[in-house]
Symmetry: D3
Subunit: 287 residues, 6 copies
């Protein structure tokens, strides 16, 4: 269950409006790597977590904080959209290329649909999608995704930081950068803790009987299907594999097929594929 | 540029049809963590990679292999769909609950749209989406995603393995498990190589001036916004942070807001938000 | 069954082209609250309506009119897109900020995909979605949605009206405003008629046994989960409830949980969740 | 900013697993009228609300409560999915049609992707979409939508109630029914309060100059474009209009077009529409 | 402008309910090749058609007819959904595999969202999408698409015909088959007429200066990038090309690259791609 | 199985950056008629093709070539995005309308998400969708779609050609135009070959028993549901039908309904449709 305080976790006040930046800021609200994604993903993983205790608490703790970030960015967007030029005529007043750039860079839905407010869509205006979150039930797989999400997210914030010189906007982004920094560290630490606790190792899922059930003939080769030969120089092409199995990577520059040339069955004639059957399908009698 | 051989990378032959399993197998063809995602993601990252050499070669090498996996699974699906009961009537022949289960578990689009073949949709029939791939231009962020994708993917294959006892299907899945095992290892090794080469460290993006531009007051605290206190016991709540900065994690159980209670400006009256202006908006003269 | 006359229901002729406005106008053609939504929603509700007579007739009557609005707006868009600057070079001719604004504000798909015509996508270019329409089979719920749709729609038209001073465009929008005005009134009247006819009351669905089957302990409290205390002053927090039940609203400022702290079962080991079982899963024997 | 307690707002414990019902229950978690929609919609409206005080508080108060409902349903789903038959073989054990029905009615992604947990997708497995929420900035339009959402939502819960006889599931649904009942009442009361406060009337948006700017010739006629004549008997076809304007509804059974038969301009020859220009387009010279 | 008569274009009455078939029938209502697609596509092409006369009339004439087909199928679905078993318990009554199959094959949204009616979604429950229609402005390209749509549509109807033996359902499908037959013929005839009228030839767009502006070195070779050598035997690999240019097809079995190995520029350092710049980006001073 | 060479099939080098054109070029990478669509569609049809030999080889041969086109366009986009103005401030430097136009016409995701690279989304930024491809199993239906795709694709390339005067970009587009020209010819030739080989004729599917199972009363009439009378003059309204059946087209200007006015059954009371049942539904007893 949730409780809300209306005071923001951190300030979200631009020094001046910038509707074109408001459009761009949507990426970290409703984009695939935005705050809504991480909030809902961590909560979902927390709710679905089958083991009470520190991992579940961690997921719910960070997930709840992220909701506050959605709130801050939505507030910032509503403020950035003030005074947007409504028409081409207004955009071109006094032969002003800056206003023209703003007009062209504005998201029309901010005005037409939202009356200037933010929404759950990305910087192209594409709606946020429930498929952006993952909660697999396997914490090792999911913590890797969470660390990734904080990296992609912080990268986007850093880029947005370079797209504005508004002190108030940058103040908020500085806060977001710090929290994404912290959360990157936390998920990486949690990965180590999972290993230390003996709960899950590599490869994921560790419990699958690797040596008996998977095809051990195909675990160690880098099958280089492109003609870039430098790939053979990487750590991933020779030396011991990091899974602790004692196996070594092998580089294979000319990978060959191991299957055969497939021939499919002709198909049910009632589906009229090509080749069609010589005769028309028999229809079940009706009545 | 690409070349294709029709021989499959590995065998894709079920011992018997199972249209309900064909529906489920779509998840690893056209689901968000399926083979199409990794194929197109690695290729996209490779094409966008600005540094010639081993990293670019690695991306294009594995990306190209993954196309062969899409092909194998699509072939398997076409074979699994043979002899699907077309109607409820057929499904219930001889009071057979197995056929009833198959009928209910079949994807109707396999028959109606595809004539029994596979397509780029997931196990719910939701079309694959271009937003599932990411190519950020930052290899550290992207390699973490790639490692994650192989974990989520292998997890799904392992689950599907337990959903069938068909020897031919399992034979193919054993191959997929091995390749996902290998690719997990490779992306993890590539992360280490990036660090060893001094190209990128943590937090991503490392080049952003962490100590001067981000808000250093908020880098180290775990702000526990849920009431699960066990989270304070984790590695992520005390001790040195893994970023090598010498900072330590801190646990904060009662996080407070640092912003203020936002009040938004009244908005452009021409957008008719509430509160509306006392008078009607002035319309620009026409003509 | 439908018949079409090519004469438009009302004039759709701009005085001059404005491709940037054409992009914006898409919102009321193919946006979630646009004319296509209401046309297809009312028709769907009409076709699914199980009671012959005035309600069914009303739905089909208005739904059919809305198709004419889609037609008018599509025609208007094709005319507004005339003479769009095709390239940045053309946009910047004579250092013209107005042309630059137009170029930046144009939907490229109008030109590349449609040859200047309209399509079923919104002002961000996001395709219209079948999920935008609802036909629940319960007319009270659906008429409330219909009234809402006309409100959201008229609001958007009024905003668009303020984004252009083209007399011809405004002439068409004046017509749309009037029809949305009328339809708002009609759906509100239809809600009253449903009550007067004794077909459905509040809460929806009225036929559900409110006093015996729902949890009557939780019908009347406003559980204020945010810290905004002014909400206690509203009509929704004290006094008699509008459902005629004789119950009164109550304001509860400190809502408490009534469930317990959930602990989930460990999950099927064959799905490899965390915590994983001590041993590897048992696989069914395969011949 | 948000705080979370792990105790559920209300109990979410089924008496026995039912994976097929878990699939159906997704509709009120991640469907267009589900709990995620109302939670995120009310919060978005609250954050974008430009008027501090009771309306903003109301939106944030209820929005926060709805998050607790998402949590309850997600928990319920994880419990209902226990023991799902993994394969057709298991589904058909002992010739059991009930297990067959369960197998066919299960969402495969619950198992393959989520390890048995819930996610933000609907009962067909279609991902939740950011476009499902609306925050127009006009409270009258939005409160009507909110009331509608509670009606559609309660209707769906009532139907789901009739799709199970599990006492534990029904216990939770009884709670949901009560809260949807309450929230229907509240939004209807809030509509009245907006009018009483003089903030917004009908038609929405009231501030648009109805008598001068919209086309007053088209405000009052019901233009019956279908051949159902009973529609003329409704309250929406005669008598005073509910907007207080003193105007009366009129019924028009044979509505006529008022525009003309549109002829579009030939289009830019560089877009190669039909009719194509006699000659090939002139291409700009290229250096 | 449109007029509607409530009488159906053709009968839509099943002899008995079959909710599982109702789910499947959605494909030709709201699937990508369904009736909604062709109705809205032909109308859109008609509205956007810049040439008054027979082609525009044809598009609007058939487009309007297709709306009647949407109506028929929606009606059929509402009737097929009667008496659907609501719960697993009901599905398993009397150990009946047929009911179990029906339960598993039913679309839960038909019941939960629609109260038994049809909607604009396909047989997997995926919402219809505005991107399914195309109106390019080039009639030759679009008539080819229209002919294709009727082929794909008729193929799906024929398959559905074989999935039921209900006489009433088949009666309706027989009508659909005939109309799809007719419309296939019409669009193919319209392609010939376009050529005969000298309005458009092949390749599309004919007006593009084929011999001067496109790269004439690459017009005639079949570049066989797969290892299937039989492709060299087809009509597409030798002999005169059908475009009347007098050129001949050529078969090239070992196609070579003609570009070079791309090296991308290092990218803007403010976007933090890899390789990152030696130093951190310079941030614009803020005040 | 696939092999990749890093050398491009053809050069992809602009003479100068143009981020606004980069946005537009996305249409032929990730739009519905773009290169990704044709690549994945032809491969899917090839993999699902049940007849070994020339048709399967053709599909796989061209499908593989198209992957090279995706690669070229992605490379071109990464080069066009160089030096994009990051902020409005930069866009307006020196009062430059050209930069303003560029800024407004840029896709923000190219910078924020991709670091300047391309992705699988269209020119509006809408993600590519698996539903864009079709593989019906019936080669006649699919070859018509393939020919259409090359027409729509070539049309879009020709339009893009007129939106730039950059010699390097045009050089690449000239290549694309030629290949789309060639592929149009090939699919048209393949249609003829299918007929010549006796594998499939018209109407599709030919094997459906046209004269006995479809409703032969409705095969020949053009039912003109719009009031455009010129449609009666076309080849599609009189004369022999092209299917070789000897039947003639007939023109019917006043098409009549042949069904009846549908009345739906009242519906299951447990779904609470209108009309609701007099009494509340009976709920199954719950222990």
């Amino acid at each position: 269950m949730f409780y809300h305080v209306q005071t923001l976790q951190f300030e979200a006040k631009p020094d001046r409006p910038d509707p074109a930046f408001a459009k761009r800021l949507q990426e970290i609200l409703g984009g695939k790597w935005g705050e809504l994604t991480v909030a809902l993903q961590y909560l979902q993983q927390g709710w679905n977590c089958r083991m009470p205790g520190k991992y579940k608490d961690l997921l719910l703790g960070i997930g709840t904080e992220e909701l506050a970030h959605v709130e801050m960015i939505c507030t910032m967007i509503a403020r950035l959209n003030e005074g947007a030029p409504l028409s081409v005529h207004e955009a071109a007043v006094a032969d002003n290329p800056m206003t023209a750039a703003v007009y062209g860079g504005t998201n029309p839905q901010h005005l037409i649909n939202n009356g200037g407010g933010g929404y759950y869509q990305d910087s192209s205006g594409v709606p946020w999608l429930g498929a952006y979150t993952t909660s697999s039930g396997n914490l090792m797989a999911d913590f890797h995704l969470n660390a990734t999400a904080e990296m992609q997210g912080r990268l986007q914030v850093a880029r947005l930081y370079n797209m504005t010189d508004d002190p108030g906007v940058r103040e908020m982004l500085r806060f977001n950068l710090a929290r994404d920094h912290m959360h990157q560290q936390q998920w990486l630490a949690a990965i180590e803790e999972l290993k230390a606790d003996g709960l899950e190792g590599l490869p994921v899922p560790e419990a699958f009987p690797n040596d008996t059930e998977q095809n051990t003939d195909f675990i160690t080769q880098y099958l280089n299907c492109s003609d870039g030969t430098a790939a053979g120089d990487g750590r991933w092409a020779s030396g011991e594999m990091p899974d602790g199995s004692g196996r070594s990577f092998r580089y294979e520059d000319d990978p060959q097929p191991h299957g055969d040339r497939p021939v499919l069955p002709p198909g049910d004639p009632r589906l009229y594929g090509t080749p069609r059957p010589g005769a028309a399908p028999e229809h079940p009698a009706t009545e």
